[in-house]
Symmetry: C2
DNA sequence: CCTACCGATCGGTAGG
DNA sequence: CCTACCGATCGGTAGG
């Protein structure tokens, strides 16, 4: 939590504005958050914000890109070990969910982007992360194990989908069915996915 | 489109308010939509809205529950034929995506609900559809075919997740990678899911 | 169902 | 980086 150690005064203020904005956008949406709320939480006067950002939308875009969890989750996933596809995918999924789990609420910003900005900013974000995602995909198909004949882009998409289906059903259902639907849900999801993409090779008992 | 045929005057107005509100919420979010915009699109004066709804939030909640696609998609899915799990799931997924596809934008209201209302209204919606969803799950496990040992709640959740992962990756990626990632993506998704939940039994070539 | 209005709050800026 | 302000718009209501 000593992230401000080497920052200049101005950089620190900027970072405080972004943190405040991120929290508020996550909680109330874009139009549900006011510049005054951001200023108050960042401990600055309203007018002061405009020394660092041109507009409210620019704050949102900056938060969405610079604070995106993939910045640290992708490297985390790359550290996953495992010589077989199964080991690697299982390990990477764990890293992914654990890494994102710390800031699960960030997904709200993606929803806001889709709804309130009609996905205008997605192309920029896409360009930032595309290369690393493809590297990751390469590692999967180069690991040991026989994949069913699924086009690589579909595989990537299904893997991303695996994550969202886990998170979204978590958000939608966790408040309704606390215990039973919950248990080991991620393990099962990964299991279904693995069993779904591999030719045979039943996964080892847990 | 003759839905107003048997409605009274008041019911027609109410329905027009809801349609207007649904469109605007989908496009701009909850806080991004004003009561004046709703009134204008529904061709009524601002004050007139309050003859039908107590507040803006009540309009949102009514739209979210009464206009929810599951009202007609669940019955559609129940019409799916097929004596084996595979046939049935494949057919039902097709019905689901086709049915929802007509009003894909509705998913935005679910995002709004999650972000701007923190899922406050989810319990009500859940209660409306829960019984039918469980009936559907029963039909799957009673069909011919051997399921891997996956708890029923997890199976239901994975099926819901299948849908969301398809839709969300569609929203997130379709604007970036028009053709290649797109092709037959749903077929592949269903394929991975089926292969993932069934014991063996390779799916027939298309 | 409409007109006319309420107080509150919005994003943003001038000027220092 | 703050104070004080701008015009515009917000959700909602009184009264008819």
């Amino acid at each position: 939590m000593d992230e401000n150690a080497t920052l200049t005064r101005g950089e620190r203020t900027r970072s405080e504005i972004m943190t405040a904005a991120q929290q508020l956008f996550v909680q109330h949406g874009y139009h549900g958050t006011s510049m005054r709320q951001i200023a108050q939480r960042a401990d600055i006067a309203l007018g002061g914000i405009y020394n660092h950002f041109d507009s409210k939308e620019q704050i949102f875009l900056t938060v969405l890109t610079e604070m995106h969890p993939l910045h640290y989750v992708l490297p985390l996933m790359s550290t996953a070990q495992g010589s077989t596809i199964e080991e690697f995918v299982r390990e990477a999924a764990k890293q992914m969910v654990e890494g994102v789990g710390e800031r699960l609420e960030f997904i709200n910003l993606i929803f806001i982007e889709l709804v309130e900005f009609k996905g205008e900013h997605l192309a920029q974000i896409f360009n930032i992360f595309f290369p690393r995602i493809m590297e990751f995909a390469q590692r999967i198909i180069q690991s040991d194990g026989e994949l069913r004949p699924i086009p690589l882009p579909v595989l990537v998409r299904a893997y991303i989908g695996l994550f969202f289906s886990y998170i979204l059903t978590e958000l939608l259902l966790s408040k309704q069915l606390p215990p039973e639907m919950e248990q080991d849900a991620l393990d099962h999801f990964v299991d279904i996915f693995l069993h779904g993409i591999l030719v045979e090779n039943p996964p080892p008992a847990e």
